[in-house]
Each structure stands twice: as C-alpha cells, then as structure tokens.
Symmetry: C2
Subunit: 298 residues, 2 copies
C-alpha cells in the first residue's frame, strides 16, 4: 500500500473519534445562549481536516501512547484553530465570505456573534486542557497549557497574523514571510505535535526530534497552501482561487515562483522525514502526514 | 478610620504591585510585532481599578496567603477583563469610542489590531496561569485553570455578553437581566475571589462562603454601575452618562427605577458581609471592597 492509502486508513477512524469528541464537548446545556453555541458548532464541526488533533494523536502514538489519552487536548487544538479562522475571516481582518465552500461564521451569524463565538471557542479550548487532567498528571497538563497558550498568543499565532496584516499589499522579504508563517500557522502545528509528545512523557531527544519534524511539516503545509492557492480551482480549495495573491498577501508562490516553491516544499518534506529517523514504525502516520502536506491536491 | 480610608491604604500598595507585575508581564521581546504589544499595554495599563487582581489577592490574604504567591493568576484575571473590554468596545459590538476617558483600542489602533490584541491578551492570561505553577502545586493550577476558563467562556462572561447583545433594544425580564449580569461581569468576579481561595488551599466551607460573597459582590457592583450610569456625570464615569440607557441596554436602574435599585444594592452589600461572618479581620479588605462596590461615586 502506498502512503496515501495507508494515511486514509489511519485518518478515517481517528477523524471519526475526534469529530465525536468535538461534537460532545460542544453540546450545549440549557442556560447557555443557544445561538452562540450553534455558531461555535458551525465553526468547528462539518468539513475540516482535523490536522492538529490528528498530529497530537499521531505524536502520542509514535511514542506508544493512546489516542483516548490525549483527546481533550487534541480537541482543544482544533478549537483554537477554529477560533483563529472565525476571527481571521471577519470584515476588519481578511473579509472572507467563504470557508470550506460554506458561508463564513460572520456572514451567517453576524459580526458580533462571530467575535464572541471565536472568544468562546478559545475559552473552551482551555477548559479542555484542564479536562486533560483526567488522563495525565497535572505537571504535564500545566506544561501543555504553557506551550499551547504561548503558541496561540503574540509570540505565536496572533503575532503571525498581526505581521501578516501589517504587511498586506506590500512586497515582503523572505525573512518576513518565514516569520509570518512560522508564527501564524507553524506555531500551532508545532504545539500540536509537542503536546502529544509531552502528554506521553517524551524524553528530551524525542521532543527535540519532534520539534524539528513539526517545524518542517508546518513549512511544508504552508508552502503547499500557497502553491494550491495559485494553481488549484476554486472548487478544489473551497475559496476563490488566487485570492491570497489578489489581496497581495505574502505567499511563497508569489515570492519565489511556483517551481522554486515546489522545490522548497520537497526539501521541507525531506527534513520532516529525517527528523523521524530514530522513530520506529509507530511514527509512520507522522511520515504519511508529511507526504500528504506536500503531495495533496487541495 | 472608616472603611474608605482603610481601603485606600490597602489598595495603594496592592495596585502598585499588580501594575508593576502587569507592566513586566507585558514587556515585549524583539521578535514580536511591536504594535500589537503596544495595543495590549494600552488596553491594560494606565487607569483601571484592578478590581479582579485585588479580589484574588484579598481572598488569598483572608485565608493567610500572600499577594506574591497569587500574582500571576491575579494578573491573568486583569488581562481577561481587559480582553473583554477591547472586544466589547468594537464597532460590531457596543461601538464605544471612549473608555476610562481615553479613545478605545479600536479607535486608536484600528479594528483588526483591536481584535488581535484582545485575542493575544486572552492567550497571555493562560500563559500566566501556567506561570502560577512557580508558586502553587500543579493540581491547584489546573483547578484554577478550569474555573477561569469556564468563567470566561460561554457559560460565563462570553455567554452573558451574547445574551446582552441579543436583548439590546428590548424590554427584558428581571430573570434575563440577572442572567446577563451574573454571567457578563459576575462570573469573572466570582472566579477572581475563588482563584485566590483555591490557590491558598481553602477548605470546602470557606470556598462556599467566598462563593456567596463573590456573587453578592458582583451584583452590588453591577447594580451600582447601572445607577451611576443614570446619575453620575460623564466626567465622573469616563464615558457618556446615560449611554447604557440611551442604547436601551438592560440595566437595573431602568428595570426597577433608581430608588429600588439602590435598595437592592444595599441588600447585596449586607449579603456579602454576612457571607464573611466566619472570617477574621484578615478578610477586612473584602468587607471594605463590598462597601466600596455600593458606596463609590464612580
């Protein structure tokens, strides 16, 4: 079997498990205002690769852990991703109307509700990190909390998004482009892998290896996103093709051209695979995901 | 000395300590985008009662704890309060231009930066909760994390804000009004008191008493805010007087009239003081704060 079929076999049950857990964690109780819970579910459930929870689970499994034992944190990472998309799509930010082929949260529920649903998803993520204490020692939970909070904030995802907005419509240097992506998307991908590792008690060398893997993987995903934005059809990627370039967002494809960007993505794939050299076949899903990052079509 | 002078003597050094810690926690390092760090500082430092950190510290001290030992969590609570104000002031929400007599964050830095600065403050708050592990056992930190995350989210602050927005311009029932305020402002006030208690190892009866105190205190603050919005001058409260009523926000003063609202505030003060009956003089700052909630002029 090639990596594509193996990955599909791996993803199917894991995504189903994550989706079931997300559905349960986002079930409302009567006193909550119903509409914001509905908006939170709309933002999170349905389509979506569940990349971050899968990475957290795959990292745990690469070290001999079990998916069930990292599920609250895995779901927390998906909620943070969903929160960031809801806020990024707002009129004052990227002003996006479509996401995964569906109206964005602010289009469907209004701006105020989108701001609050995003905030509430972010808060819920930290509730789930506390929930992780059902399966892990409080020491490891606190370590994970620190990692995920830092990766979400000004030294991570938010910082990258700020830099992206500040540079919109400008020609950016390679250094700025790398800064933006290492923070805007890279930080949470890295946190997903490392959270799975920390919660499974990875030793220092394993954490260092997985850190290197996650950085290369994040880069591979971002470069490939940029290439797909240039080359894929609107139908394939679920938002208007070329929309990032049209908005003059900083992209690898715009900076280097599509061919050179493809070579960089291949290099990132090789770096990700090399970082996993000391791991046995339990790390294969992480390897397939690295292939997927670069060789997917949407 | 009356409570007013005693409270002033108590608040002065504690506010200075909190302000110093906030200033330090919000000092940027070079790789961060400077403007968002500036917006985060603008939203947090300067004027502000520091009510939530002071409550956290005062609850810890009422149980024999020390301010230094709860400072990261106390500051986290202030960051969550600041985050909520930044988002509440946005054009899509309350569209406020002035806050504490100064331009609101979105007026000064633009909407996109205000959304992101709010998000980043919220993330930073959870970093500080992880930082609390320097002084407290990880078990207590995780318990505090759960409390604060729940109080900030859809079952707390965000939920109250959603309900407030959904009911804007409508005549609301007393039940809805109480729901809104118990969640929008009450939940984080309660979390502030209980966080100080949990981190100081309060037993069950003490936690129950402080829970009752914090609910009565939150109510006293909110009713008095509503009365002051009706009766105080713009200069006194730092935003246009009567602005909540003009926007037809749900307020106690509008629902009951100012005189009845005053009687409810007095009752809440008595409830807060009764809840502290079993505490010795180390709980006096909590008592003075209850007086302050009702008898302040702005």
């Amino acid at each position: 079997m090639n990596w594509r079929a193996q990955l599909e076999n791996y993803l199917h049950p894991h995504r189903a498990r994550v989706d079931e857990a997300l559905d349960q964690y986002l079930s409302g109780n009567p006193p909550m205002p119903r509409v914001v819970c509905e908006a939170m579910r709309y933002a999170t459930l349905g389509a979506g690769k569940r990349l971050r929870p899968i990475l957290c689970i795959a990292a745990a499994e690469a070290l001999g852990g079990k998916a069930e034992q990292v599920l609250p944190t895995a779901c927390a990472l998906e909620l943070i991703h969903a929160f960031s998309l809801v806020h990024d799509d707002l009129p004052a930010m990227d002003n996006d109307h479509l996401r995964r082929g569906q109206p964005t949260v602010w289009v469907k529920y209004g701006e105020a509700m989108a701001i609050l649903a995003g905030d509430a998803l972010f808060a819920k993520a930290f509730e789930l990190i506390a929930e992780q204490a059902r399966f892990s020692s409080p020491e490891r939970v606190v370590q994970t909390l620190r990692l995920i909070a830092e990766s979400s904030g000004v030294r991570g995802m938010c910082g990258g998004q700020v830099e992206d907005i500040l540079n919109e419509g400008q020609v950016v240097s390679e250094a700025t482009l790398r800064f933006i992506h290492a923070h805007k998307t890279g930080a949470l991908i890295r946190a997903s892998v490392l959270a799975g590792a920390i919660l499974t008690g990875a030793d220092e060398p394993r954490q260092t290896a997985l850190d290197a893997y996650s950085r290369a993987l994040g880069l591979a995903f971002q470069i490939t996103d940029d290439i797909l934005d240039e080359t894929a059809s609107t139908e394939q990627i679920g938002k208007p093709a070329g929309s990032d370039r049209a908005r003059r967002k900083a992209t690898y494809a715009a900076l280097f051209g599509v061919e050179t960007a493809r070579a960089h993505a291949q290099q990132a794939l090789q770096d990700a695979l090399s970082a996993l050299q000391a791991f046995d076949e339990r790390a294969d899903p992480l390897r397939w995901l690295a292939h997927y990052a670069v060789e997917r079509e949407k």
